[in-house]
């Protein structure tokens, strides 16, 4: 069943158009990736879906309902939750406060506390650093916290913007297993934006290749492997190659 459906989306910052006409879908229990080089418009696409950026045109449907133009706090409330690029941990709040804010939309206190314990058992650094300020964590720890904070909302679809950015190969491996678990243990769909083709190829079922704000290819992940653009991303020319 289609959970998230984006139709003919047009976005712009002022007069600078980023996407002219982008369509994509994410099914329930699916891990979908959007791959593309630096500046392709990946983050802008997620910002539009998450409600941070109002689309100029097009329709966003979630669970069959038209949610185009809903602000981000409402989108989070209905289960469309984004873990933004650069992690955006609140640096002056503690790890625990960051986690608890992730569940801001939820009312059931007991379930929230249970989820906090779940996150802490799942990402052990979160329990050892429970009372540390978010800003004191390393980049990798912040990424784990950012994902855990996103999961605290009990999303139905989790939008992840470059979770591997700046992480060591070992941590990237951990992120990979976490993304798999988002589907199996937290039963949420994932829309993963990446420049790191390796990670995306390893976890995603399906993908879209984005370049200059346009989808240039899409399909099952295996079919995208040999695309010309993939080659560039694989060779690490993605960053800065415009």
């Amino acid at each position: 069943m289609t959970l998230l459906q984006v139709d003919h989306l047009r976005t712009a910052y002022g007069v600078v158009v980023v996407h002219r006409d982008v369509s994509l879908t994410v099914d329930q229990d699916e891990i979908v990736t959007i791959l593309g080089p630096n500046g392709a418009g990946k983050s802008t696409l997620l910002r539009a879906i998450s409600g941070l950026l109002r689309p100029k045109n097009g329709i966003i449907r979630f669970d069959g309902k038209d949610v185009t133009g809903l602000p981000a706090d409402r989108m989070a409330g209905i289960g469309v939750v984004m873990v933004p690029e650069g992690r955006r941990i609140f640096p002056d709040l503690t790890v625990l406060e960051n986690l608890r804010l992730g569940a801001y939309c939820r009312k059931e206190g007991d379930a929230i506390e249970a989820d906090i314990r779940l996150m802490e058992s799942y990402f052990d650094v979160l329990s050892t650093k429970r009372n540390a300020k978010g800003g004191e964590l390393s980049g990798g720890q912040q990424q784990m916290l950012a994902i855990a904070r996103g999961l605290m909302a009990r999303p139905r679809v989790l939008l992840l913007d470059e979770p591997s950015l700046g992480l060591s190969p070992m941590l990237i491996k951990q992120v990979r297993s976490v993304i798999n678990d988002v589907r199996t243990k937290f039963s949420a769909a994932v829309l993963l934006v990446e420049q790191n083709a390796g990670l995306a190829l390893a976890v995603a079922d399906r993908g879209y290749l984005l370049q200059y704000g346009q989808i240039v290819a899409s399909g099952p992940i295996a079919a995208l492997r040999d695309h010309r653009l993939m080659h560039e991303l694989y060779l690490g020319q993605g960053r800065g190659a415009r």
């Binding site: 941070l52 955006r88 609140f90 002056d92 709040l93 804010l101 992730g102």
Partner: protein
């Protein structure tokens, strides 16, 4: 020593009023980026309402509550009716707030007049503490402010809403991604700041006469206090208010009283040059504690 203690209570009571509007200014700026120049007039209106209610026969403390409610509603109307529309253009909001401040002065002159207003000391007692005479109303002003400051501080550092508020001050977009209705927090903070300005006005008229132009003096000190502490930082506003209050008190007691305002503003300027983000940090990465 006795003179010094009395002087201290006096300056703390003056500092209290400044701190009350400083908290509003710092929160409103920290969250919404709104530089509300009319905040001083909110205080003045609070004082005028208190004067009106007291001279109509109401008990001072009921009048004080009335002033807080009135100015809170005023703040709500100003935020929803005016400042909401300039959130994306802070400079327009700033200019607009100057307009609002002048309009409020004229409305007050129209409704009442431009003559300065006083009320009799609501308590009219002197407390003897450790052999030292202290004017009771001044002590009450300090105590009430201390309670408000402590409540605000703990509310912001501990409560769910306070934490969400700090998150919104630090990073509005990410806060919204957590489901925090940032716009509603902007309204809430604006109303809260206005209520404190109403309280400040009521307490001020209990100590000093007020004119329709009192606001423009108070606002400068309010901004000084929030800038000294770091915009967006409640603890900073309190620290800034205490510093200004002490500088005032000491200069009035031991220096040349006629330079009191100049001293405190010099302190502000020096701190801003030496520590552009205020003593406790703020502005660029605004925070609330």
């Amino acid at each position: 020593m006795e003179i010094f203690i009395q002087q201290l209570v006096n300056s703390l009571s003056v500092a209290s009023v400044t701190i009350l509007i400083g908290i509003g200014i710092t929160l409103i700026f920290g969250l919404a980026g709104i530089v509300n120049f009319a905040h001083g007039e909110f205080l003045m209106v609070g004082g005028m309402i208190t004067w009106f209610l007291v001279t109509s026969g109401l008990n001072f403390f009921l009048a004080l509550v009335g002033a807080m409610i009135f100015v809170g509603v005023l703040g709500f109307i100003a935020e929803r009716g005016l400042f909401r529309f300039t959130l994306e253009q802070p400079m327009n909001g700033f200019i607009m707030s100057i307009g609002v401040s002048v309009i409020l002065q004229h409305v007050v002159i129209r409704v009442f007049n431009e003559v300065q207003k006083t009320i009799p000391d609501p308590i009219g007692k002197v407390w003897v503490v450790g052999g030292i005479d202290i004017i009771a109303m001044r002590a009450i002003v300090v105590l009430l402010t201390a309670v408000v400051v402590a409540t605000t501080y703990f509310g912001i550092s501990r409560s769910r809403y306070g934490i969400a508020l700090r998150a919104s001050i630090a990073d509005q977009d990410t806060a919204a991604l957590m489901g925090i209705p940032v716009r509603r927090y902007v309204t809430g903070v604006f109303v809260y700041g206005s209520v404190l300005a109403g309280l400040g006005g009521a307490l001020m008229i209990a100590l000093f006469p007020i004119t329709p132009f009192t606001g423009s003096v108070v606002i400068i000190r309010g901004f000084a206090v929030s800038l000294i502490g770091g915009l967006g930082n409640v603890g900073g506003a309190v620290a800034g208010g205490l510093i200004l209050g002490l500088v005032d008190g000491l200069s009035a007691g031991y220096g040349s009283p006629e330079w009191t305002d100049a001293y405190s503003l010099v302190v502000m300027i020096v701190i801003l040059i030496v520590r552009p983000q205020g003593l406790l940090g703020g502005t660029l990465g605004p925070r609330a504690t």
